[in-house]
Amino acid sequence: MRYNIAGIIVDMNVRFPRLGSQSRDYEYDGERETNVKIRLSEQFYNDRLEENPHLDYEMIEYIWMGSEFYNALIHFNGMLLHSSCIVYENKAYLFSAPCGTGKSTHTQLWLKRFPGSYILNDDKPAIRINNDGTVYAFGTPFSGKTNQNVNKAVPIAGICILERDTTNHIESVTPDDALFNILNQTVRPPQEDCMDMVLQTLDKVLGKVPVYRLYCNMDLEAAEVSYNGMKPDDE
């Protein structure tokens, strides 16, 4: 079966219900050529299962098909940002942080505070730069623990590094300040040529997209503070 994920035509042999249902909205039967073919072999499943006895076949498929997709994304002016991505007024806002910081908790506050907002991808949105230099966030079937993702491309208003605090405040950060946090929340391929592509993409993304640091608690006010800090100026 073929899928259109982040504008990339992916051929995956999906076998299990979890990825099957999550990738349904991405099925593709158009004319475009396949860009990426992903096959996980029986041997591959068995090896991963041996290394990770707490997993099952279904989870292995979900995790490693995703992992193969994000490795491939690097070759298409794209990158993964480990973040929860919310869309409001047709602009995407990505909240990135290490696991357990409260990315999803924060975007859930947006859902409550801003009717009409929705989660594009709750854990692993794809970022790609199109030909005119606009930077888009994409939903993908791979959205971490939750199944919250939508098959859409939305221009990015901002990337926000999230930190916990007792009060809510937000600041702009320079791209070079954000570099360390962002590189820690993406795929860092071991191959030099692939790493090169990641850094080139990141350089372009940081040249276009404003980056912020949000210190926040779990009150509804946090959503308000982050939206007011990040919303694009009226043109």
Binding site: T174, P175, D176, A178, L179, F180, L183, R188, P189, P190, Q191, E192, M195, D196, L199, L202, D203, L206, G207
Partner: protein
């Protein structure tokens, strides 16, 4: 002297950064940022260079006296050695 295999210097977001690839990335998954002089020295070291050659290059490329150049190089090398980023010969 030469920088260890598996470290690459690139310019991202207007900053010089060094990241590890290949086997080196298993041990080092951080990020080193360098200023302009640091990047200059790293570039030289990545092709392999002796201390004296490095000093000579620096004196011809920068308008500095020998004492300042030596201090710059020594400081950089001390940090790089401490971080285990150099192969000495």
């Amino acid at each position: 002297m030469k920088t260890k295999k598996g470290f690459m210097l690139r310019s991202v977001a207007g900053r010089h950064v060094v990241v590890a690839v290949g086997k080196a990335s298993i041990e080092f998954n951080g990020l080193i940022t360098l200023n302009d002089t640091g990047a200059y020295i790293w570039e030289k070291l990545s092709n392999g260079i002796t201390y004296d050659e490095l000093l000579k290059d620096m004196l011809s490329d920068y308008e500095v006296d020998e004492k300042t150049a030596r201090e710059g190089i020594d400081g950089f090398l001390a940090t790089a050695r401490e971080a285990n980023l150099l192969d000495e010969d």
